[in-house]
Amino acid sequence: MNQPLLYLDPVAKPTAPQEPYLPRLVVGAHPRIARFPNLFTDSAPFLADLAEAMAPLLPDAAFPYFDKKFGRYMSTPASPELRAEMIAGSDAVVLAYGHCGSCTSGVVHDGVLLAREGVPVAVLVTERFREEALFLARALGLPDLPFVFIPYPIAGQDAAWQRRLAEAIAPLVLTALTDGISADAVHILDAAVAA
């Protein structure tokens, strides 16, 4: 019988240890839910729509705004100083959105870095970049990072459509923050139309 051919595995294993995602938003009297767009097209106004849609779900909530000033920094993780500012000024952070290769990398990195400091997060990623986002979360050691997957494209779409999407996903984003559960909202508006 022929002996099998032995050969060496070219693939390396990620060096980051895998850890459970633990942060949870405990809704208190005046919750502060930070909006953190990566400044990809329409990410900031979409988060404004989302905040408006979440307000009835969280009476007395505030939705402070943070960003990295220029869109060209969307792939670069937030500075420690900016993260410290967000941590001091909020109880949870909603990040938006993964809409291209490098900006998905940035938004996942930011989500992981905040989560490692105990901040509950919800990371919005468009469907087209779902696999990349999941891969990066595993590579960075937090495979259970809460994502809300949304339709692609969202940037450049009609403003009324974006507002309808924000209203539809608001409860899912809140659940991601309070329970650490990811959600698939890719077809959420299709379902609403069908109903």
């Binding site: 220029f70 670069t76 990398s105």
Partner: protein, 362 residues
């Protein structure tokens, strides 16, 4: 693939092993050389005094540990000879340097890839070409070293197309982009000397770039050719279809044909003067740019009307390579993304002195 201890895999034969690696998305789509222990051991003989388990760094986005052994495995797969391996090692060290910022480079939808430039004695010692067809096809050392780096980016960095590498169309330059500088044919000091190394050093420099853009410039009399050459080259870099005029940070590169380099030198232009003139010319007015490309100008990270391709003259990396049989140089726009745009990262190529047994004088 049947998993065995110690990173070993098994298959019925070479064909099955190659197919398994292809199906596991461990290749670039082209046939590979199966990395048997014997082939990897031979490659490791040319590791410059480094044990196989030594780490050359962590490669993003996956964060894989880039050991000398993993470099050797992927170099075997790429078809490298052991003589190529010292250059592969140096390129790996540059690739894993945090300053090179490999993570976002791999993730972006832009077709950016590392340009690998080799200077010094390693060009001949490690089998690299700076002559005709230096960027392919043809020169095996250039092709396989470039390919080894791509396979390492896939298998250690996680740059699998559609997962960790989101380039929408990809590029043939992502298979391999490696060349040696034609130092002997150049009237200028070599690139590595301009970057602070000694002439006798062997150096690998990596820069994140698009593939080569051809630049045609027909030579007639000397006259004002140097100025016209720089105008033409600058217009290439400032093309509204490329990223650099919008991002304005990081370096770009030009590979000058020896015949163009000699024309510039005869006209009294050295590297610094060429870089300064390119810096002055590679620009646009914001309004003119907006009339061409509209909202692309919204990504410019400042409000000034004067928009430039790079921040400093020295961000134009210049080297000489290729055959002087035609009037074609090449320029390499870059992605301009990440922390600081494309930053050139250089490493010395090290060679193992091997086992020298002194001769007895007794």
């Amino acid at each position: 693939m049947s998993a065995l201890p110690n990173g070993m895999l098994s298959a019925a034969n070479e064909e099955a092993a190659a197919r398994a690696l292809l199906e596991a998305r461990c290749t670039d789509g082209l046939p590979i050389v199966v990395p048997t222990p014997e082939r990897v051991d031979r490659m490791l003989l040319y590791a410059p005094g480094l044990p196989r388990e030594a780490s050359l760094g962590t490669l993003l986005p996956m964060g894989g540990d880039l050991t000398v052994e993993k470099a050797a495995i992927n170099a075997v797969m790429a078809g490298c000879t052991p003589e190529n391996f010292p250059v592969v090692i140096a390129a790996c060290e540059a690739l894993a340097d945090p300053a090179f910022d490999a993570g976002p480079m791999q993730n972006t939808t832009h077709p950016v890839t590392p340009l690998i430039i080799v200077n010094g004695p390693a060009r001949e010692l490690c089998g690299l070409s700076s002559g005709v067809g230096a960027l392919g096809p043809g020169p095996a050392g250039n092709a396989t070293i470039g390919r080894a780096i791509r396979l390492i980016m896939i298998n250690v960095g996680g740059g699998v197309p559609g997962i960790g590498d989101m380039a929408t169309l990809g590029s043939p330059a992502k298979f391999a982009l490696c060349l040696a500088e034609a130092e002997e044919a150049s009237p200028f000091e070599p690139l590595h000397v301009s970057l602070g190394f000694a002439p006798q050093d062997s150096v690998v420099t990596l820069l994140q770039v698009e593939g080569a853009h051809s630049m045609m410039f027909a030579l007639t009399d000397i006259g004002e050719q140097a100025e016209l050459f720089c105008r033409t080259l600058a217009a290439g870099f400032a093309n509204p279809a490329s990223n650099n005029i919008y991002t304005g940070v990081g370096a770009v590169a030009a590979v000058l044909n020896p015949i163009h380099a000699k024309m510039l030198a005869r006209a009294g232009w050295g590297r610094a003067r060429i870089q300064q003139r390119l810096f002055e010319l590679a620009r646009a007015d914001r309004a003119t740019l907006r009339a061409i490309s509209g909202a692309n100008t919204d990504t410019i990270p400042h409000a000034a009307d004067d928009v430039r391709v790079v921040e400093r003259p020295e961000d134009f990396l210049l080297l000489v390579s290729g055959d002087d049989g035609g009037a074609y140089s090449a320029y390499f726009p870059t992605w301009g993304g990440g922390k600081k745009g494309s930053v050139p990262v250089s490493r010395k190529v090290r060679f193992d002195d091997g086992c020298e047994i002194p001769e007895s004088r007794r």
